[in-house]
């Protein structure tokens, strides 16, 4: 009787999750219509007299034209070269192939609706965007988090493969920059993302995820040639995971990974896990003539809690599994030259990130005479470190045909990446160094009332060095750690081809673009391809 009731409860829960996703579809469509309606009543002007007037990759144009906007300081929005612009886009994407991280699905299909807009109102510059994503990832294994996570060793996995993950995600962004005086601008930005995910096979997880980013900044123009800026940001990430088993009387082993093949495990019919990350940081900017120097740091602390649902067992609700801390420094220098319609941009960027993972040791301690027990930390031990160093150099040449549209462009990028992980007692390590090189070329071809844009990117990743030292091999090492290590340190090539056709449907106002994007990555024995088709309307 009890089992039956539990089973019904689980099935109901599962049904509710799918219903919630289904319900959210209607919510999202409604939200989308409302969002578009707000923009539709605004008066907008086409920027130029060619087919579209604005480059499809508007963010690349902004980066080339106004390097300070690369910094992420919301006050820099005020200097946007784009005054009034709205884009509405829908996108279908497909990925498949076996050149992938072990936890990534064999196949990924997604539908996305997106809109973003710039709007200048006297001394105020506004930016808003909304994204809706509906995604289905098939053939997943060893991952029960909403996204396959590579930024932490504290993963959550079961060993039953062939999962299908359905996800639905909404992202809202609003940013505002205001010119307080002719020399001083301030800005603020809020970004909120929420998503739901559910697996279809026991042990099936239901994920609720949200991130909130708030940043504020200021930018002061000391002289005609000199700007100083600074910004602060705070980011909160939360992921609730509930794992259930629908099959009657069945339990599954669930692994809490703690780095380089170490783990604790639980055999459960239900399990609950919570990730909470608080990140904050700041950046400073210094722009003098054609030079832009930025520096910043970020710090986060992520706590993971576990719970095992037991009726009335308040102590079992939350157990502190791990604490993960990070400190990231980055600095970049950008030099921009703008002879005639050309923009030459050289950039060099360095980044250093350190991570420490701790494992709390907890005991059930009796709190009072009413038999109230609570998991209490009696020690917290540092067990894991990760270091990442990155040095990137890039050069971009853009020839503009009009103010916001490129005629052709070429780019070159070299990216050195050094990754090392260490687990202590038993001592184990994993290291690799990669050098990624990329070449890019693109051309916009103007036709009568239409235009065609072609972009080609070729990249290759060369592994410079790699080694591992595992004290013992176990199931987790063999199935997850080593395959991912081989994937991330593999030499591989990638080719990306993008073609876009756009045409006016209303003189000087509206145009529609169709973008077809193919991306193939391949190593000696594996490959993975992706296809993206985007239909956009530019208002």
């Amino acid at each position: 009787m009890i089992v039956t009731r539990n089973t019904i409860k689980k099935m109901r829960l599962q049904h509710q999750t799918y219903f919630r996703i289904s319900h959210n579809k209607y919510l999202s469509i409604f939200t989308l219509i409302c969002f578009f309606s707000v923009f539709a009543i605004q008066r907008v002007d086409a920027q130029e007299d060619n087919a579209r007037g604005i480059d499809t990759d508007i963010h690349s144009v902004i980066r080339a034209k106004t390097p300070i906007m690369r910094s992420g300081n919301p006050a820099s929005l005020y200097y946007s070269p784009v005054d009034s612009f709205i884009i509405l886009a829908t996108q279908y994407s497909h990925q498949s192939g076996n050149f992938k991280s072990i936890s990534t699905g064999d196949e990924l299909n997604g539908l996305c609706a997106q809109t973003f807009s710039f709007q200048r109102l006297d001394k105020v510059m506004l930016y808003g965007s909304f994204d809706y994503l509906n995604q289905k990832e098939q053939g997943m294994q060893y991952s029960n988090t909403y996204h396959v996570r590579h930024d932490t060793p504290y993963l959550f996995a079961d060993t039953i493969g062939g999962d299908t993950y359905k996800r639905e995600q909404f992202v809202f962004t609003g940013a505002l920059a205001y010119s307080v005086t002719s020399r001083f601008a301030i800005g603020g930005k809020v970004n909120y993302m929420t998503g739901y995910g559910a697996q279809d096979r026991d042990p099936r997880t239901q994920n609720k995820i949200s991130t909130t980013l708030v940043s504020i900044g200021g930018m002061y123009q000391l002289t005609e040639q000199l700007k100083l800026g600074g910004d602060l940001f705070y980011n909160y990430y939360n992921e609730d995971i509930e794992t259930i088993v629908v099959e009657k009387d069945a339990v599954y082993t669930i692994f809490n990974l703690t780095g380089l093949g170490t783990y604790s495990k639980h055999k459960e019919s239900t399990f609950y896990r919570l990730y909470q990350r608080n990140a904050y940081g700041s950046n400073i900017q210094f722009e003098w003539k054609n030079n832009l120097l930025t520096a910043g740091y970020k710090k986060f602390k992520e706590n993971v809690y576990d719970g095992r649902r037991e009726s009335g067992a308040n102590w079992s609700a939350r157990k502190h599994d791990s604490e993960y801390r990070n400190n990231t420094w980055k600095a970049s220098y950008i030099y921009t030259l703008r002879p005639n319609d050309f923009v030459h941009q050289f950039s060099i960027c360095a980044k250093k990130a350190d991570y420490i993972g701790s494992e709390p040791l907890q005991k059930l301690i009796k709190l009072n005479e009413n038999n109230v027990y609570q998991w209490t930390t009696i020690a917290k031990e540092d067990k894991y470190t990760r270091k990442q160093e990155q040095l990137r150099f890039s050069y971009e040449l853009s020839k503009f045909r009009s103010r916001l549209q490129r005629n052709y462009w070429i780019g070159f990028e070299m990216d050195y990446f050094n990754h090392s992980e260490q687990y202590y007692v038993p001592d184990m390590s994993l290291n690799y160094k990669n050098l990624y090189t990329q070449l890019e070329a693109g051309k916009y071809i103007k036709m009568n009332k239409s235009g065609c844009q072609i972009n080609l990117v070729y990249g290759w990743n060369k592994n410079l060095d790699r080694d591992t030292d595992f004290t013992y091999d176990n199931f987790i090492t063999e199935r997850i750690i080593v395959p991912d290590y081989l994937f991330f340190s593999s030499g591989h090539n990638s080719v990306k081809a993008q073609i876009e056709y756009d045409f006016k449907i209303d003189a000087n106002k509206y145009c529609v673009g169709l973008n077809y994007n193919l991306h193939n990555q391949y190593s000696s024995s594996n490959k993975r391809g992706s296809l993206t088709i985007t239909l956009s309307a530019f208002l």
Binding site: T262, S269, D354, E381, V425
Partner: protein
């Protein structure tokens, strides 16, 4: 405004530099366990505990380290990661017609070095005769001709492992509250108590139930010849027509047929139904306990409920570990994580790997024969003490 922003940025930068990111605080500890030989074993001529394997199991990370005791009966474990550990060791030696069995087990919190002076308590047991033991537990059930599961043939057999006659009058069979595949709600009291959902007494008898050395008794779910009875199953491996006692539910007059064997009495049956059933796939933990005094009074005074804030209406009974005569934890398989009883009662569970309905059971190993009487192995480690996946043989002690 400008200055404030600069101050804030500087403060954050200073704070960011405050942690040494290249040198994490890594701790390791050394522990030394000394196993002192109890006087009773010294009297039997045992002088040293040298060269014995000691297992140290990290309960959180699920790995085991082994080390060998030195001539002083000491064992050193070096550079352990901090955490919660269990240690286990066992040793057996025959001295004449006496079997000396020493078992040590315990829990250690390794949060600091544990020095030689901090000797750990070790429990030793000398096995000369023993007490009642659970000899056979058949729970997996069998498959009918139609291919369906049949579990009516479940039974438990208790055996007198001592050289003397014992009275089973005060012996009670109990089943622990949770199954082995779910967390034990009562883990916080596991070190001193078990919590049970069923307590069954043998039927009252003025003479008691005297069990001779080398004899036992069978408690059947349904005391019938399962292979020949029309209500049985021809594929069943057992004939329980001669079972000594039968579990019977008085809750229904139609569901549970009352056979000839005397009925056992349910003193506590939290989830009372029309028939008793042990989990066919495994998971039950059972024990025989000896409760002094008036058992009904004891139960009434020791009822507990789940939920500290909003207690459940379901009541279970808390029994001290010291009342436990013998215990067996049965698991689904070897990959079990949740213990329901302290390791001093059963340090590791057993299971039927063939699962249900296989018609197979777990049976205690025979250690030796003394004057034709089987002495069963009882080291409080069911994983070692029991053969699993064996054909049930109720009442056959050879």
């Amino acid at each position: 405004m400008k200055l404030r922003l600069i101050y804030i940025v500087i403060l954050l930068l200073i704070y960011a530099c405050s942690e040494d990111w290249s040198n994490p605080s890594i701790n390791t500890h050394n522990i030394k366990i000394e196993f002192a030989i109890p006087d009773v074993a010294i009297k039997e001529g045992l002088e040293t505990y040298e060269g014995i394997n000691v297992q140290l199991y990290n309960t959180r990370k699920d790995y085991t380290i082994n080390a060998i005791t030195d001539s002083n009966g000491e064992v050193d474990f070096k550079e352990l990661e901090p955490g919660f550990y269990q240690y286990n060791t066992s040793y057996e030696e025959e001295r004449g017609d006496v079997l000396i069995s020493l078992n040590g087990s315990g829990n250690i919190e390794v949060l600091d070095d544990i020095s030689e002076k901090n000797d750990l308590e070790v429990t030793f047991e000398q096995i000369k005769g023993g007490n009642f033991v659970i000899r056979e537990f058949y729970y997996s059930g069998s498959k009918t001709v139609a291919g369906k599961s049949y579990s009516s043939d479940q039974y438990i057999e208790v055996y007198n492992n001592s050289p003397e006659s014992l009275n089973a009058n005060k012996i009670y069979l109990v089943e622990l509250e949770s199954y082995g595949y779910t967390p034990n709600y009562w883990s916080y009291m596991q070190a001193d108590s078990i919590v049970v959902k069923m307590i069954w007494a043998l039927p009252e008898s003025s003479e008691g139930h005297i069990i001779a050395p080398g004899d036992g008794f069978i408690m059947a779910r349904d005391a019938l010849n399962h292979r020949s009875d029309p209500n049985g199953n021809p594929n069943s491996p057992v004939d329980l027509g001669n079972a000594d006692f039968e579990f019977w539910s008085d809750k229904t007059t139609t569901g549970d047929i009352d056979h000839e064997a005397p009925n056992m009495i349910d003193k506590l049956w939290t989830y009372k139904g029309s028939d008793i059933a042990f989990h066919t796939r495994g998971g039950s933990a059972i024990a025989i306990v000896e409760i002094p005094g008036n058992v009904d009074e004891y139960i009434n005074n020791n009822l507990v409920a789940k939920g500290a804030i909003t207690p459940s209406s379901r009541l279970f009974c808390k029994i001290p570990n010291e009342y436990v005569v013998d215990a067996v934890e049965v698991l689904w398989d070897d990959d079990e994580t949740y213990k329901r009883m302290d390791i001093s009662l059963d340090s590791r569970g057993t299971y039927v790997a063939a699962k249900s309905p296989s018609g197979l059971c777990v049976r205690r190993k025979i250690r030796r024969f003394i004057e034709g009487r089987a002495i069963y192995q009882d080291t409080n480690n069911s994983y070692e003490d029991f053969d699993h996946d064996v054909v049930p043989q109720p009442g056959i002690y050879k």
